[in-house]
């Protein structure tokens, strides 16, 4: 099986540890991933801010970079949703680009989907002795409908104490450029999410999207809360032998 990692521009640039964790985790499970060097960004920021031309250009180059693989793994529910749900709209009903989009979209999996649906594993042999709460980001929850896949994986992690996050399904207020264009509302939403996280007494907040974690973590950090944010992949990657990262 030829598997491509679409690491996403946010992870590539700001959270390389997440990309490394995906590579190591999948290798541990017997899957060698390829990193198509031509990839950059799925184009979601442009599409959702109203810059469709740029978004189409980025969609074209992403599809070209990811074509021909048996599976594309994306450690981001949001970018996976972009490829699977928005690309077909950007590509239109027919034509070569629409065909290429349909092909790539049908092979695109968010990390937890790939682990559970493709590899058929729920226990990835991870060890993470901490109190963790999970925030199901909007695009993971309502976009690609990850359901309880992330929780299923977290429950199998040795030593991990999983605590439920109250109001988990509520948006954290990131929303891409929403966080800048409506900064006050975004911060108000984030403040409520941060309070919910602190109420759990968790040491670590985890999610399947680093962009939302960057936002919530940014406020947790500003408040000197002591709560860490971590991408799910990094928790699943850590073992007794290797530890985190």
């Amino acid at each position: 099986m030829r598997v491509a990692l679409f690491v996403t521009c946010v992870n590539d640039t700001l959270f390389p540890g997440t990309g490394r964790a995906v590579v190591r985790l999948l290798r541990r499970l017997g899957v060698e991933v390829d990193f198509p060097r031509a990839q950059t960004c799925c184009g979601q920021m442009h599409a959702n801010t109203g810059y469709r031309e740029e978004a189409v250009r980025l969609a074209r180059r992403s599809v070209a970079a990811l074509r021909g693989y048996d599976a594309v793994v994306v450690p981001s529910g949001s970018c996976a949703a972009m490829i699977r749900e928005q690309y077909p709209k950007l590509a239109g009903p027919s034509g070569p680009f629409a065909d290429a989009v349909a092909h790539v979209a049908s092979k695109t999996y968010e990390l937890t989907e790939f682990l559970i649906d493709v590899l058929g594993t729920t226990d990835v042999g991870a060890y993470f002795p901490h109190r963790v709460t999970y925030h199901p980001t909007c695009h993971s929850l309502r976009g690609i409908r990850l359901g309880d896949r992330p929780l299923t994986l977290l429950r199998q992690v040795k030593g991990l104490e999983l605590v439920p996050l109250p109001g988990a399904e509520e948006c954290c207020g990131f929303g891409g450029t929403f966080a800048l264009k409506n900064a006050d509302v975004s911060a108000a939403m984030c403040a409520d999410k941060v309070r919910a996280v602190l109420d759990t007494g968790a040491e670590v907040l985890c999610a399947a999207d680093n962009s939302c974690l960057m936002h919530i973590g940014g406020m947790l950090g500003r408040q000197k809360s002591g709560v860490r944010v971590m991408h799910l992949a990094e928790i699943l990657c850590s073992t007794e032998a290797v530890g985190v990262r």
């Binding site: 992870n11 590579v23 599409a47 109203g50 264009k181 900064a183 939403m189």
Partner: protein, 471 residues
Amino acid sequence: MSVTFLGMPATRPFPRNAARAVRDSQLRFNLRKATRTIRAKRASVVAEAPDWAELREAGRAIKEHTLRNLDKYLVQLEESVTAAGGHVHWAADAAEANRIVADLVKATGETEVVKVKSMATQEIGLNEALLAQGITAYETDLAELIVQLGDDRPSHILVPAIHRNRAEIREIFAEHMSGWGRPAPEDLTDDPAALAEAARLHLRERFLKTKVAISGANFAIAETGTMVVLESEGNGRMCLTLPRTLISVVGIEKVLPTWRDLEVFLQLLPRSSTGERMNPYTSMWTGAAEGQEFHLVLLDNGRTGVLADEVGRQALRCIRCSACLNVCPVYERTGGHAYGSVYPGPIGAILTPQLRGMGSELDRSLPYASSLCGACYEVCPVAIDIPSVLVELRARAPHPWAERAGMAAAGWVLERSGRLARMQRAGGRLRRLVPRRLPGPLGGWTDTRDLPKVPEESFREWWDRTDGGRR
């Protein structure tokens, strides 16, 4: 083309209105409490309906079919209403609708009218237009009464006074009821039952002596000419039956083909709006009853323009249930006034810019008044894909030049992986120079949130250096 009027002047952009709203702790508390209560109620009664998904799909399909054949059904509605003894008037915009209604009221010789809660009449600013003609319109819905007495504006489609708590309502009643009719009792408390009783006595007097009533309609059945109004207090029933003349202002998208179609909507609407299994007061009338006169004013006010839009037209399926408002994390923090339209929340964010155009700063900002979290789409009983329409409207909105430049620059960098890699290397070298607070619009982030630490090495640099971790 004149700009479609939607009951409120389009003023400052949404983010500025919202910034003020989020700092109002009383408003935040009231909204949080109210939206969460209705949200939970809705969720529980929807969960107990085993065929909800099918009902939702049926609602979507009926509305879609009707809108595609609106020309046919509107003419059929006119024929049915006329055959049942009613009079049908067509209004292209707010001004025409207001003129028709004012003339009809003047023809009765009356100077006072009672009103059933109606979004269409709010949309056209009917009360103000009537007042200019010497006619006083009295709102009889409890929440609309609170808004009217408080010289306030509605902030929610279904619960117009959602931004008020009972202590504030007590003050409004005590201070202003006497100016409009029967005063509130001297010893009025903020007990909900006492407040309701004060309103009941105040309104009862009004129902018994007013000869003209104005309503909207939730549904208008083309097949039979039947108007349908759903309400919860009985005030609508009073207005619809007691007066001699009844005038209903109804948006053209409210038509349903057949009586049987109601089966679907009388299940979808109460569960989605008030979280009730069955609506408390459902009034239906066909044409004019004996000794009464009935006028139907069919209102366009920008709707045919929306209908012509392939992506945006789904907004016309809306049955004004407010489920999207109640579940919206943005609405919960800002309330309805920030949206500068009688249609607030997610549905307002897609309806207002379509009806009114994106000529003003406010209307241009409305499609961005969402984090695209998708909660609205999930609860919509007629499956309006609000996030997709928002994204479509954003693509059409004029963008500020600074943002355009930033987006173009980002697009340029991301268009070649080599450019991205060079930017990442530069970022890695300058990582210690990133300030704690950023200037300009980027300060919106750093005012409340730390920036992420820029790593020494990007993922692709690591991949190249280590051959994907193999070295």
